[in-house]
């Protein structure tokens, strides 16, 4: 039971007063950030990276802070989707379907606490899964050579497209943009300056924080200009704040089912919280059948997506920690943070720095409990934050974003670059390109190139090494399946359409 003792050690790290305060601050900041329109978990975590670094936090505290912010953001997004019917981000769309009707029925407090509870159970199941499987996966991953890693990364990228559903081509193009951008700067192997245009500032590449904040914050600021609303009228959260035992019991089986589902979806690269919540909601709706009043304020319809989101968020940490391959935008940002601290996630992390890994896992438990507790006294204050009008909010977001970017290198070049990337992000968004594949591609790009070159150095240029081992061969087969998935889906949709045409 090595794992258990490691977990105990992890709790020791996470329960130290300093880290507890860090986690508390993180959940508070995260909740506020997640509440505000225009800021989601990706920006929230990215903004805090340079600040955590400047504060001189030790690596495990910094990671705990970022994880707490991440969970807090998810929770904040929940508040705006339940009370305002405005999903803070794509994954909480499903929450609005039953959460908002519940709030309208005067059960706002119950809906919020129940969603926090569901998310906690989801995270709990996923964390248990992580405790069980991550060390196994890490042990197995040590057998991976550069060729296997390269193939695995190709798989991760292809997965994104295969899972993204309706726009695989645009997802691929976005991922390729990210993969390409990672090549900007000095090439570590040969010392050749690539695509720098003789600018000193680009010599060590595009800074990750600049890319994230440009793509997400600046483009969001520009998007907010289109909608000229002046704050929102939230549903008043009055009456009972906490769900009762009967309500909790009625959704318990839903929680367990969706937790397992969410964990599996989270581990798969590219699937992530959005897909997990949608699949969970649809499945539960089908299981409930006619007895449910899904869409009209059914507690199960609220619990299902929330459990799945909580579980998939933690599940996404598994490939990140064991393989060093992020599966979602937010985990990509966390890898960026880890590299700032000179920590390379991967199989060896479990052996070399168990404090960090298990401390992080333990702090996920703690942050989740904190969110459930915080919910009760703080909800009135949080709802008041929702009423902040855009004109006061946006300049502050712009200024804080600029501070975050400036904090990395203290050059104004990065600020210009951020604006440029922001315009690009805005155009891409208007043309319906997904943005998080760019991030994922950017993080994977450097690793992918290095592993490809290393593999080919081993074989002296022989391409055969890329599919010689059984592991890489099976990953190639999976990749091929993933590639055909969107084609199959398109083909089926066309067939359905044709049948509809024939019927009409």
């Amino acid at each position: 039971m090595d794992t258990m003792s490691y977990l105990g050690q992890g709790f020791g790290v996470a329960l130290s007063p300093y880290n507890l305060v860090t986690a508390l601050c993180g959940t508070l900041i995260g909740t506020v950030v997640g509440l505000l329109p225009g800021l989601g978990p990706i920006n929230g975590v990215a903004l805090l990276i340079p600040i955590a670094f400047a504060l001189g936090l030790p690596p495990e505290s910094a990671l705990i802070l970022l994880a707490a912010v991440y969970l807090g953001c998810e929770y904040g997004g929940r508040i705006s989707s339940i009370l305002l019917n405005i999903p803070g981000e794509a994954s909480t769309v499903m929450t609005t379907l039953d959460g908002y009707p519940m709030a309208r029925q005067g059960l706002a407090g119950v809906a919020l606490s129940l969603s926090a509870w569901s998310s906690f159970i989801g995270a709990f199941i996923a964390t248990c899964g992580m405790v069980l499987f991550a060390p196994l996966l890490a042990k197995w991953a040590i057998a991976f050579g550069p060729a296997e890693y390269f193939v695995l990364m190709v798989f991760a990228i292809v997965c994104l497209g295969g899972m993204a559903g309706d726009k695989p081509l645009k997802t691929f193009i976005a991922a390729l943009i990210g993969l390409f951008l990672s090549a900007v700067g000095i090439d570590a192997n040969s010392g050749v300056y690539r695509f720098t245009g003789d600018s000193v500032h680009l010599a060590d590449g595009i800074q990750f924080v600049v890319l994230v904040l440009g793509l997400f914050s600046i483009s969001e600021i520009l998007l907010l200009l289109e909608k000229t609303h002046h704050g929102h009228q939230a549903v008043k959260a009055t009456g009972r704040m906490l769900f009762n035992l009967k309500e909790a019991a009625s959704v318990f089986t839903v929680n367990i089912r969706c937790g397992l589902l969410g964990f599996i979806m989270g581990v798969l690269p590219g699937a992530g919280a959005t897909l997990a919540s949608a699949v969970a909601y649809m499945t539960e709706k089908r299981i409930a059948g006619a007895s449910g009043k899904f869409g009209k304020g059914d507690a199960r319809g609220l619990a299902a997506p929330e459990t799945a989101i909580g579980a998939s968020c933690c599940g996404a940490l598994v490939p990140m920690l064991t393989l060093g391959v992020p599966g979602s935008g937010t985990t990509a940002v966390m890898i960026g943070a880890l590299t700032l601290y000179n920590i390379t996630p991967g199989p060896l992390l479990f052996e070399q720095q168990p404090d960090i890994v298990w401390g992080l896992i333990a702090s996920l438990f703690i942050a989740n409990i904190m969110l459930v507790i915080l919910n009760i006294p703080m909800i009135r204050i949080f709802t008041r934050i929702l009423a902040v009008p855009n004109w006061a909010l946006v300049p502050v977001i712009a200024i804080i974003t600029a501070i975050g970017v400036y904090a990395v290198h203290a050059t104004t070049f990065d600020l210009f670059l951020m604006v440029g990337i922001g315009i690009m992000g805005y155009i891409l968004r208007k043309l319906d390109f997904p943005l998080s594949p760019i991030l994922l591609g950017f993080i994977l790009g450097g690793l992918m190139e290095q592993n490809l070159r290393r593999a080919l150095s081993i074989s002296n240029g022989e391409l055969g090494i890329l599919w010689s081992s059984p592991i890489s061969l099976s990953v190639w087969v999976l990749t091929a399946c993933m590639l055909t998935l969107p084609l199959l889906r398109i083909w089926r949709r066309r067939a359905l359409q044709r049948r509809a045409m024939a019927d009409a």
Partner: protein, 152 residues
């Protein structure tokens, strides 16, 4: 549709230009079979193929219900906002954080529909507060610029 085609063509042109730029990248001394040129060219090539497909078969853009159509006033506003951000970047060091933040924050708040007085109060207070928070409390150095005379 037409916008998407134009975008794909422009990006394709950028890809080709970058590929031309990458062509001469060669290591002076090479110890490995794959040089610094292969990977970017591979990515650009794949991207080019995807974009070519997009030029001929653009995918329809799904509009959300709450997304208003882009009209002239919105475009002007967006251009103004971008302009303000560029001014912010340009004056960040020379004028200092507080002054430049107030300089761009005020028009930006107006752009989003705030009133002069309200915007001024919020922006000025927030600029000073954020400077104090980040520079003094959190050790993120920010330039003082014009206001450095006030120091000590």
């Amino acid at each position: 549709m037409i916008l998407q085609r134009i975008f794909a063509l422009v990006l394709l042109a950028v890809c080709i230009a970058l590929a031309v730029m990458a062509w001469p990248y060669q290591a002076a001394f090479s110890y490995e079979p794959v040089g610094p040129r292969a990977y970017p060219l591979l990515m650009l090539g794949l991207m080019g193929l995807g974009l070519l497909y997009l030029v001929f078969r653009p995918t329809p853009i799904v509009h959300k219900d709450d997304e208003p159509a882009l009209d002239r006033p919105t475009l002007i506003k967006i251009a103004a906002c971008v302009g303000l951000l560029i001014v912010f970047a340009a004056t960040f060091e020379s004028l200092g954080f507080i002054v430049s933040a107030i300089l761009i924050g005020l028009p930006m708040a107006r752009l989003y529909g705030g009133r002069w007085l309200h915007s001024a109060i919020v922006v000025v207070a927030m600029s000073i507060f954020l400077y104090w928070l980040f520079d003094r409390v959190m050790d993120v150095p920010l330039p003082l610029g014009l206001l450095s005379v006030l120091e000590n």
